[in-house]
Structures are given as C-alpha cells and as structure tokens.
Amino acid sequence: MVQNASKISVSGLNFYYQKKQAIFDLNLKIHANSILSVFGPANSGITTLLRSFNRLCDLTPGAHMEGQILLDGKNIYAPDIIVTELRRKVGMVFDVPTPLPMSIFDNIAYGPRLSGMKSKKLLFQSVEEALKMAALWEDVKDRLSMPAASLSGGQQQRLCIARVLALKPEVILLDRPCSGLDPISTAKIEESLSHLKEKFTIVIAPHNVQQAGRISDRAAFMLMGHLIEEGPARAVFANPQDQRTNDYITGRFG
C-alpha cells in the first residue's frame, strides 16, 4: 500500500444551505486505510462535510456546493456518476442508531438486496461476514430474525456499522457514532474500527476530543465551516499549530 495515496481529495469546497454558507473553501486529502477524525464544536460543518462525501446532501432542499470532491481521482459530482453506486462505495453510519423496522437479518441484508442479491445463501454469507467484522455476530447469531429494535443501543449502532460493511464499501463515514452510547459500547465500537481500517478508509466525526485522540491516525479540526488544521493525529493533539485548535483541545471552549 502506498502510504500517501489519497482516497478522497477535496479542493475548494464551498457548501451552502440556501444562502447560508456551511463550509468555506475547504481543501483536504484523506489517506486510504487510515482513520481520519474530523473534530470541532457543533455547527462546524462536519456533518455537512461527511454527507457531501456520499452525496446524502443532495437530499436536503436548497443545498448546493462549489468545488471538487474526488474519490480515487474521479469527481463524485460529475454528471456520469451513478449516485446509488457512489453511496455503496461510501457508506454512512449516523449519529443515532437507525435500525430499520425489520429483523436483524433484513437490516444487514437491506443493502445487498437493493443491489440485486437474491440467493439466500449469498445473503446469509454477507450478513454473517458483516456481523463478524462489526463484532456483533456472537451477540446475535441465534436471533437473526428478531426485530433489530430489540437490541441495545450499542448493539444497534454496531448493527448499523455491519449494515454498511455488508455493502462492501471502500470508505466508511461515521457521524458521531457513539454520541448516545455508554463507555463500554463506545470502547467496543472503537475497537472494531481499529480493525476495520486495515480494509477501509474511515472518516469519523468523534463525539469528543478524547475519542479523536484514541482512535485516529490523522486529525482535522474544523471551526465554523473552516478547516483550521489537519495533520497526523499525534502532532495535532500534542503540538497544534493553530491557537484555536489548541484552545479547543485544552478545553478553553467548545
């Protein structure tokens, strides 16, 4: 693996909701097979940035952008991009667990089924594989037909991660995935993420600075729509180049 291969490359990104600008002239390169934490206070444009990587932003009326986002060198906003294929490559885990009102199995099989997988055997294989990668298999293997809503919050969030993994994505976006979870569930999710980065490129909005410090290879600090600084996590947290980053990390605001 070439260390510096950038999986996602953002240049000159400006993002607007109607007239309100959410992201200002943002440039960022995201390395493959690593975990990037994009952290900062609320309303910094982090969710918007993540949602622009798989074009979920398209769903918000009045949202529009300028600039370029490249995935493996290809502009994901080019007219010939098939959005559903892009979203299979760039999976998303939301800030609250979002099981669909169906069984555990059907939740995980949702993505594969959308892309036309019908064979029971293949579906079962991908469900099992995804659940194992998300470290949930042992918890649920005997009750795959139970409603997903019957799981605990932490299990539900790992279910959502498994659901994304079943798409066989290349990039996984996690938008404050542990915000409502207890420390033990959080630790479990962080542990599975550290395994997953071997196969995937992970971009996470951590729910606090400590989490960012624990799990990331690289870190990016955003404030009010501006990318303040980005670099190797250790450097950003130990020796931030920008005063505002330093103030945020040391808890002076945010």
Partner: protein, 278 residues
C-alpha cells in the same frame, strides 16, 4: 394552594373520564338496541334467500352480495389512485401550486354531502356513460366519494414515517423507488390500512350516493352491470316505506356485524403482513 391544585387535578380527571364514558355508553346503547331488535330476525333463511314481497318476507341475500360487490368495486378503484396520489404528494413533489390545489380539492371533496356524489354519479355514470343503474355505477360513485379520505389518511401515514428511514435507505444505495417500497411503505401500511377500513365502512353504510347509481333492484346481481340494492339502502327503504320494521332491524344488525367483521379481518391481514416484514 396545594389542595386546590390537587382538587383541580381530580375534577379534570373526572371530567375527561366521564366524557369517554358518555361516548362509550352512547355507542354501546345504539349497537345493543339494534342488535337486540335485529338479531332474532337473523337465521339461515334470512342470509340465503333473496327478499320477497318487497322485503316483507324472504331474506336479504341479494343485498349482501350487492353491498359487497359495490364496496369492492369502490375500494379496488379508489385504493391505487388514492395511495398513488398520496405518495406523489408526500414523496415525489415539493410544496407547490399543484400540490396545494390537489390538497385543497381533496379536502373540499371530503366535505361534500354524499347525496351530491349520488347526483353526480347518476348524471355522469348512469346516464352520460350509459352504465345504467348498476354495481359499476354505484362502485365508481363511491370510489370518488372515498378517494379524498384515502388520500389524506395515506399521506399522513407516509409523512409520519421517520425521515431517517429514508436517509438510511438512500445511504445504503437505494433508489427512490426502492426506498419507498422497502423502507417507507412497510412503516406506513398501518396508517394507510386504517384509512381504507374507514372508507370501506363509509361505502358499506352509504345510502344517498348509491340509491341513485346502483338502483334498488332486489334480484340477485349477475354481473357488474346488474342493478342492485345495498343493505343500507334496503333497510332505509324498509323503514321509510313502512314495509317491515323487523326486517329493517335485521338488516341493520347484519350491517353492524359485517362492518365489525371487515375491521377484524383487515386488522388481522395487516398484522400478519407486518409480522412477516419483521
């Protein structure tokens, strides 16, 4: 102060409790009265024979068949259009002049007295389209009458499906259609069904809109073009013309039982569908 607010709490509870009790008593009283008067009339002959002597004797078999067929035609026609329109309004379009016009029309249509639908059905289906007094004319008229109800209840059911279900489905690579069918519809189906059950009830119980369009023939219908008399019309005529009050009560009791059965069966079907989906 403290005792005051506690007393207020008790009074409020009592008031609310008594309104609910009052409604329950009225409902039970009416149903019980009709069932007590009507049930003794219901037996095998009443169910299987067609009315004789204008309904003075014989049964009500042809009116049961007529009611079911007219209602079935109405639901089969109104359901796809109603649900389709609801999905259009809720999922496929932004708020615009057109959606406002559709909503306003639906609301206005819902408020029109059913006799007006009857008159329209008579002029348009019976005479202009030359369908005559028939199950088809009656069913089409009822379909127009219940359409607004189905649209509004379905739209509300669709809009009440959490937005995250749609986002999840899109984020997993779903197209709009896949998202609607797999993520939205299963969650909305209970609300949609409630609207349809409501509409079935209204169709079964309707008189004014069908008396001019389906007719009041007592023969057993042989096709959708046959005229027929629904149960509601039958007991209206029996009571109004003073033909047989006993048979009117019998028909009314049967109508109540029919509506009850339709409710139970529809709920069972939905529960089974939902259970299968989980």
């Amino acid at each position: 102060m403290k005792t005051n607010s506690r007393a207020g709490e008790k009074i409020a509870k009592l008031l609310i409790w008594s309104t609910a009790l009052f409604v329950l008593v009225v409902l039970v009283a009416i149903s019980a009265y009709i069932l007590i008067k009507g049930l003794p009339r219901i037996n095998w002959h009443f169910l299987t024979e067609i009315p004789r002597n204008m309904g003075r004797s014989g049964g009500v078999a042809s009116t049961i068949v007529g009611t079911l067929l007219v209602t079935a035609v109405a639901i089969i026609i109104a359901m796809p259009f109603g649900i389709g329109t609801a999905f259009y309004l809720a999922e496929y379009t932004k708020e615009s002049m057109i959606t406002r016009i559709i909503r306003f029309s639906a609301e206005s249509l819902a408020g029109i007295p059913s006799i007006v639908y009857g008159l329209f059905g008579f002029i348009f289906f019976v005479i202009y389209l030359n369908l005559g007094w028939s199950i088809l004319s009656g069913g089409l008229t009822l379909a127009i009458m219940i359409l607004p109800t189905i649209i509004r209840t379905s739209e509300e059911a669709i809009l009440s499906v959490p937005k995250v279900y749609r986002e999840v489905s899109f984020s997993l690579g779903g197209t709009k259609w896949q998202t609607i069918i797999k993520a939205v519809f299963p969650s909305a189906i209970r609300g949609i069904t409630n609207g349809i059950i409501l509409s079935v009830g209204r169709s079964v119980a309707e008189t004014a809109a069908v008396i001019y369009t389906a007719g009041s023939a007592l023969r057993m219908p042989v096709s959708l073009f046959s005229p027929t008399r629904t149960m509601a019309v039958h007991f209206y005529i029996l009571a109004r013309e003073g033909i047989s009050l006993e048979n009117a009560y019998g028909t009314a009791a049967l109508l109540i039982i029919l509506i009850f059965l339709i409710n139970v069966v529809a709920n069972m079907l939905v529960n089974r569908f939902i259970a299968k989906g989980r």
